[in-house]
Subunit: 278 residues, 2 copies
């Protein structure tokens, strides 16, 4: 083969190889915070190459995975129990390849310009925890990106380790709001028996100074919690308003974090193609 | 240059050229329908090549256009007046390149399995018109894909031509529902003075047999309609329920089509990165 041809082929192969194996870390800010601990993003998963964009890959698999993901985010599909099996690769690449973080509303939109604050000390922002303030991605990456049914026992064991990771975009929003005098309130479907490990995990990941941490009562039978998430969360928001607080914002990864009055003056729906909570 | 190298280059250039100029038609079913007219999709726009996927292109332009689009669909950004200038190409390719149609919830999800019908003749499905039942894409393609401010005069002139096109996925849903005995109701922010041309346009595009066509009162000053779309549309839905009808479904391209009780038992949010109506 002539030199030029070999050179072109070499260039092509080099480009292909460079995309072949990437070890992915969660993008994490290396900031010192309250506890003085350094935040190090652990290695999660080695991705295989993504040749072609998501739609093409999905179409080959017979499911338009990016359309499915959009339907999830626009709340057109709901009550689903697992990610379509053919979308495991698509969802994995979406979650680990940077796209997920780029889609975070706290990175793609700017809350501050529309945020008119009274500065009266009664203004709060409601934060969901899982897949909003903390990410369980290391767990899901090990378990097929939720193409299998949810296993409550395994997941609770993982949560009990207290090793979930901060979502850097949410933590940035959290800290900015604290600076602006807005009080953070965590409102989560985690249960009261998980309070201690949740506090530990939040502190480890650089969250501090919250006003309240509201968890579900610890009634827990066969993976089912009493009452819907919408009823629990909107009820707790109502209590906060009844106590004289103004919910200037509300952020969560599930529509059940957002829907149900009072929603909050400004709402953010974070992407989550991994699971649905009604 | 050696033969092999020239051959490789030629192959590369051929592949590049094949993507270079594509004349795009809206995907339209060529079905005979009520009026017996054939539906022909007109040529809208010649697309320039899309090298790299949307995210890459957007990142180069300084705006993550696909993240912006997701934020629109998840209702994280609202009240916006125009598409970011750097996203014109991205939005154009999205709308004309097939992705938009693939994202239509009536093509990506199946309403029938979750649709439990009483078959009592009182079941209705609410359809929005613009960008839901009919598409104004030919207009927007000529006007920079809404990277410029909305011009009410020009747009109303276009609507008055009665030449907007059926969205084939919605028309398919519409016909399926008619077969199932569900009565279609059009509910639109178009005004009463546009009733005749709207009826003509809907018929031309293969819609027939609707129960009601509900338009806004023809009060129209400087492009502003009285009252919000949410108030108007939820009010009309309430009247329908008060009259004894059950809204088994509700489909629209704007969150203002969906939000506000009574929403309907099943809601579908169609993609729309072109404009926002609050």
């Amino acid at each position: 083969m002539a030199t030029e041809a070999r050179l072109l082929l070499l260039l092509f192969l080099t480009a292909a190889a460079s995309a072949w194996e990437m070890n992915i870390r969660l993008p994490t800010e290396r900031l010192a915070y309250g506890g003085g601990e350094a935040v190090v993003a652990p290695l999660i998963h080695a991705l295989r190459p993504l040749l072609g964009f998501g739609g093409q890959l999905a179409a080959r698999a017979g499911v338009a995975c990016d359309s499915w993901r959009l339907a999830v985010e626009a709340h057109n599909v709901f009550g689903w129990k697992k990610v379509p099996a053919s979308c495991e690769g698509y969802v994995g690449h979406y979650m680990l390849g940077g796209h997920y973080h780029r889609d975070s509303p706290s990175s793609s939109t700017r809350p501050s310009p529309t945020l008119k604050l009274a500065g009266n000390g009664k203004e709060i922002w409601v934060f969901d925890i899982d897949e909003t303030s903390l990410s369980n991605l290391p767990y899901f990456a090990k378990h097929g990106f939720r193409t299998t049914l949810y296993n409550d026992t395994c997941f609770r064991e993982y949560v009990a380790e207290g090793s979930t990771l901060a979502l850097p975009e949410t933590r940035r929003l959290y800290r900015r709001l604290l600076q602006l005098g807005v009080k953070p309130v965590f409102l989560t479907s985690r249960t009261e028996d998980e309070r201690n490990i949740t506090v530990t995990n939040l502190r480890r990941q650089g969250y501090s100074g919250w006003m309240k941490l509201l968890l579900k009562p610890a009634v827990h039978t066969a993976g089912e919690l009493l009452g819907s998430a919408v009823a629990f969360k909107s009820g707790e928001r109502q209590k906060l308003e009844d106590a004289g607080f103004t919910i200037v914002g509300n952020i969560g990864d599930q529509w059940s974090d957002i829907l149900g009055a009072p929603e909050g003056a400004r709402t953010f729906k974070l992407p989550d193609p991994l699971y649905y909570i009604g």
